[in-house]
Symmetry: C2
């Protein structure tokens, strides 16, 4: 089989993904055994290899070990209701907060989505931002150690973005972000806003080690920010990064993206019935076509979306996961049974999340920067 050549940029991910090649091409580092040991109690996303590459995360840990301030930043561009895939960096940020007791900064770039989506109104971008913030708070971040801010509400961030903007010229931004002359000038400016988000913990708290959990395709933005962070205007520490592989949509394959909607994703607002239907109908299966064949030859958990979701999101117990994997591989566990395990896990999670959302709505003040 001829391999389709791999394209990984912030605005295109296609072809057969070769993550080790990406690490070489981007000049990042694989998360090695020594680092893995430091995150072995963290969320499955971290300890089961979805986060596979980094920049300077070893330095971040070294600073933590020296009892210096460390923090995490990860944000969201709100243009729709959130689905499971959107949770990835937040689950990781929360896990790092729990493990290292550090502050987490969460910029909500309502401006980005507003600039990029022709038909998204200003009012709707505010509405989605507020909705998404409630989902994020519902994940259980620590009060007093978690700072959420929206660009269109906490407009102080413009002061920082302007200082960053002075150090990024249009041609640099154009190549990092794929800007076109017909794009609006909010879009041209946004690279500065994004870099200001990544540098925000240092603007806000002074120079310290910050880590950004991010999809590997977003690394060019990290590089752009690292390139300016030590400029004498700022004198900051280059932000560290933790890079994630792509999580498949229900249909399997490449990257779960903003264009995956409806039946290819599980929304945080989905009902138990929705989840059951979507997983049973759409979750790509690594099982065989008939029960007989499955019993005889076994399934393939490596491509089975239900198994993958259990692995990265929903089954924290390594022993239980191992048993599910073995049983599935041997054909002891049928696809329908595997799906049932996932459906129950997702629905338990969503039930709790949806209840937490109701509480979160009343706690906005405790998290939003003013």
């Amino acid at each position: 089989m001829v391999k389709e050549s791999m394209q990984v940029t912030p605005w295109e991910v296609s072809g057969d993904l070769d993550y080790e090649k990406l690490v070489r091409d981007f000049g990042t580092s694989l998360i090695d055994d020594k680092l893995k040991k430091r995150i072995e109690k963290c969320h499955p996303l971290l300890r089961r290899g979805i986060y596979f590459s980094h920049r300077d995360f070893d330095k971040w840990l070294a600073a933590y070990d020296k009892k210096q301030r460390v923090s995490v930043i990860t944000g969201r561009g709100p243009s729709e209701k959130m689905h499971l895939g959107h949770l990835v960096p937040f689950l990781v940020a929360k896990s790092l907060q729990d493990e290292f007791n550090c502050e987490v900064f969460i910029p909500i770039s309502d401006d980005e989505k507003f600039f990029v989506k022709e038909n998204l109104s200003y009012e709707d971008s505010l509405k989605y931002a507020r909705d998404n913030i409630i989902d994020i708070i519902a994940l259980g971040f620590k009060q007093g150690k978690t700072f959420i801010f929206e660009d269109f509400v906490y407009t102080d961030v413009y002061k920082y973005a302007a200082r960053v903007a002075k150090r990024i010229n249009y041609s640099t931004a154009k190549s990092a972000f794929g800007l076109k002359p017909e794009n609006n000038i909010g879009w041209s400016f946004y690279p500065a806003m994004q870099a200001a988000h990544i540098l925000f913990p240092q603007f806000y708290r002074g120079k310290h080690n910050v880590v950004v959990p991010v999809g590997i395709d977003q690394d060019p933005f990290i590089r752009l920010t690292r390139d300016i962070s030590e400029h004498k205007d700022f004198n900051f520490i280059k932000p560290a990064a933790l890079h994630a592989k792509f999580i498949p949509s229900l249909h399997g394959g490449g990257k779960m993206s903003a264009s995956d909607t409806g039946n290819s994703v599980i929304y945080l607002s989905d009902s138990a019935e929705d989840v059951k239907k979507k997983i049973n109908k759409y979750a790509f299966s690594g099982g065989k076509d008939t029960v007989e064949e499955h019993r005889k030859h076994g399934g393939n958990p490596d491509v089975d979306v239900s198994f993958q979701y259990l692995k990265v999101f929903f089954e924290p117990s390594d022993a239980k996961l191992k048993k599910i994997e073995d049983d599935y591989r041997k054909g002891k566990l049928l696809t329908g049974e595997l799906k049932k395990i996932l459906i129950d896990k997702i629905n338990a999670f969503l039930k709790e999340h949806q209840a937490n959302r109701k509480k979160a709505e009343k706690m906005l003040d405790k998290y939003l920067l003013k």
Copy 2:
């Protein structure tokens, strides 16, 4: 004599200026006798022809006559201490406020100067902004009807700039502002901030007629703003404009500009001694080379900078100005005597201004938007 071909863009003014040609080229309207009648009690800058062209100022007056809300907006990019030339739009704004009892909005674009001047630090841009604001307040704008805001302090303005930015694409901004790929992306964004300033009174107070006193070379920015003001995102009235000719520096000729500093301008902070020295030594004279010749042939007030400053800034009485002009033309008034009149007028103005500055420092809160 061969005429040097005229160049008038926001970033270049050169050649022999032909203001009537500019009005034709830009598609603006001359201020006709009917409009002149409406501003005959206003500041000399308005009634003696420095403001010579407009867009829709007739509509602004019609709205005023119908007792509808009207307002004035004019701003400043602070990158140095202010000189007389910088006062032009503010004297006009104040005069319109006095005559039409309207609100005046004054954006201070510390961000613009910060983006454009490589060596201007963030801290210095704030410092100049504060210094300039005190000069502006000292001019005597009405409290409660005058709203001053700095982009780096009243960052709410980013919300409006973003909405404007969505409707200006990079290629449009590039041609209106002469942007280059090597310019930083703050500079690329600034056209949106400037348009947001011009539209600010309508964002802040709702749709109404607004006029912008501005140098004729700045008209492309007015056009850019007018082009988007009626977009359904905003549904505003196209801002009107009043266009000024260029005020000469002490050396005479073209435009008093940011590059004119030191001895070619009178700073608002100059001492009486500074003023005396600068006017006597540098103010371009329309007088003859010797007293004898001057007495015999007379001087030329049309090119005499001292006379022009009396005309546009300092001699409100038409009768007194006429006598000075006649006496100078006839050779009855010598250059030294003419300069003495101007020096005394400037020093009286500066003495009062400098005293008003001290009071203004304590009144910042009454003018600054929060």
